[in-house]
Subunit: 356 residues, 2 copies
């Protein structure tokens, strides 16, 4: 469920403090942002082309849609550029898909919190399913970080590939829509591999829904920023995308290993699965944590000790704080600082355990 | 009401054809887009700063919010940076406001079509009011192009200032929220004066609604593109904004005069008000136009003759095609081409009148 105002205030305080080594959020590594290449691509695009600064059509830049379709087709999906709708990040794709599906959308026991928000704002609502989910997080699970593949349902299915390319072993699974084109709503984004600041994602809806989705997209914000799309097209023209993904995988794999090692050292009793990709480790502790107040106290202790994490309740539809879970992000923290962050977290947990 | 698929197809065909001198759409003049300055601002921002490429908070860049608040405060409104929420264009601001207000939103007999769409997608719906409107188009009316001030209602009011600065006489009215802070949802955008391709607008909601609106904004697309916001901040630092607005006013005033002159020459029987600002002239003709089919035939004739317009039905909640009205946009057409566009339109109307 959405984080409470108090939790949000703590996370913001942590994010804004220079002396906090944060383990919250899903931010990509600063060192991986293609700053120079993007600056060059944008400067060229903006100065030359008409389209980067002007209005464009709701479905997005045809060159970008072609790039997306080509990559999906190479993975076995029957997708043409006309099937792709560029969205304002994967978040808007979640809203558009849920707005078309409506009703109940089954999700895992832990799931991506902003998907719960997206479904609610779209007039749908997330319900927990023990078995099959209508919202499937593909390739790398968020928040759990492992490759558990949520078994998709038989009906309309939202396949969220935000982290799919960031499996450390490079085995990007065959896209769900390759085998169920007419009921899968495929979602992707460049936020995790290239950069989030452009706000470019995409949705491949079932073909029968295309026209309605484009109308809904237009009603939502007319179109995704022309500048972001043009910049991305120019960047992808010059960039060796596979090399970028490959570098991201090895960077994050190394950070994941460092974080796992620090967790084993400081939380020998903690339960977690070594991540198969993505940005995060899901750490469960045996401590009782019956109320949101308890969980919030732990986060406050962490921020006081100079670190942060995403509380487990955020990832659960009912906001349960038990079993106590902490999503720890290794993606945005310098590899050398991860050990210190976990050391601080251990201090915070000890203080919290000793609370009266 | 939303344009029909056939109307949309015609408008797209016209927009994509090199030999069509289009009078449809609300695009700013190509010559006014600050191409060089923006390219420079973006290149600097992207290469240097962390924030342009990374995630940011849902409410938007504090520097941009400060600029917006300062301008509103200078016009008499009690607005601080914390009151401002950056949105993905004014379109998203319309959705967020309507999503909070819900229910019926009274609009004028002719109104901005995408507002009708925004209200619908947000779970509200537009109804026509003869007297007072809950959706008030400020300063310059769209589509009518004159300064008729829709008398706002007594309840929650959405004040859309998209074109307010583009009054040719430079008299930007006192913002509605200066006198009714607790019930006005103020909406602005940089799309008309600076450039639409960034997709940056803003919403100043009543203070009591702020937290809920930020949550809804976050659910919709997490945040407006960091790149667009950072680029705009850098641009506004270097740009003489008043000079930009002033140049835009004189450019559009000259085009408006040229279009009005051409209309008087080719449609002496046509009824229109000389525009007081903005991008468009609303032309009404006496011809009967009983059905959408008739209106569509006129647009098809126009495209065949090498021009285009926005059909009047788009601007009416019930989609009425009578009285026959054409919104003619002077903003995006070179001033020397406006006469030829209207000459072509007159040919199309003559052919259409002669249809069997």
């Amino acid at each position: 469920m959405p984080a409470s105002p108090d939790i949000l205030a703590l996370l913001r305080r942590a994010a804004g403090a220079d002396d906090v080594i944060g383990l919250a959020g899903g931010l990509p590594a600063e060192t991986l942002l293609p700053r120079e290449a993007l600056a060059h691509a944008i400067a060229t695009t903006t100065a030359r082309s008409g389209s980067a600064l002007q209005y464009g059509w709701a479905e997005g830049d045809p060159r970008l849609r072609a790039w997306i379709a080509t990559r999906l087709a190479a993975r076995g999906a029957d997708v043409s550029p006309d099937d792709v709708i560029v969205t304002t990040g994967a978040q808007q794709a979640l809203v558009l898909a849920a707005g078309a599906i409506r009703g109940r959308i089954a999700v895992g026991a832990e799931t991506y919190p902003a998907a719960i928000d997206a479904f609610a704002v779209a007039g749908a609502h997330a319900v927990v399913s023990g078995v099959r989910t209508d919202y499937a997080i593909i390739g790398v699970h968020n928040p759990r970080g492992d490759q558990r593949r949520e078994a998709p349902g038989e009906g309309a299915t939202i396949a969220d590939e935000a982290y799919a390319e960031l499996r450390f072993d490079g085995r990007v699974p065959r896209p769900l829509l390759a085998d169920a084109r007419s009921r899968v709503w495929h979602i992707g984004t460049i936020s995790k591999v290239i950069c989030p600041g452009l706000r470019v994602g995409w949705l491949v809806p079932p073909r029968s829904a295309r026209a309605a989705v484009i109308a809904a997209k237009s009603a939502a914000d007319l179109q995704t920023a022309s500048l972001s799309q043009a910049a991305l097209v120019a960047l992808l023209d010059e960039l060796d995308y596979e090399a970028v993904v490959s570098r991201a995988r090895s960077t994050y794999a190394a950070r994941a290993a460092a974080l796992a090692e620090a967790i084993r050292a400081h939380f020998p009793e903690g339960q977690f699965t070594e991540p198969d990709g993505g940005f995060t480790i899901w750490l469960e502790l045996d401590d009782p944590c019956p109320t949101p107040r308890d969980e919030q106290a732990l986060l406050a202790a962490a921020v006081d000790a100079g670190t942060s994490f995403d509380p487990g309740s955020m990832f659960r539809v009912d906001g349960a704080t038990s079993p106590l879970a902490l999503r720890l992000s290794f993606s945005h923290c310098a590899i050398d600082a991860l050990g210190e962050a976990v050391r601080r977290l251990a201090i915070a947990v000890a203080r919290w355990r000793a609370r009266t």
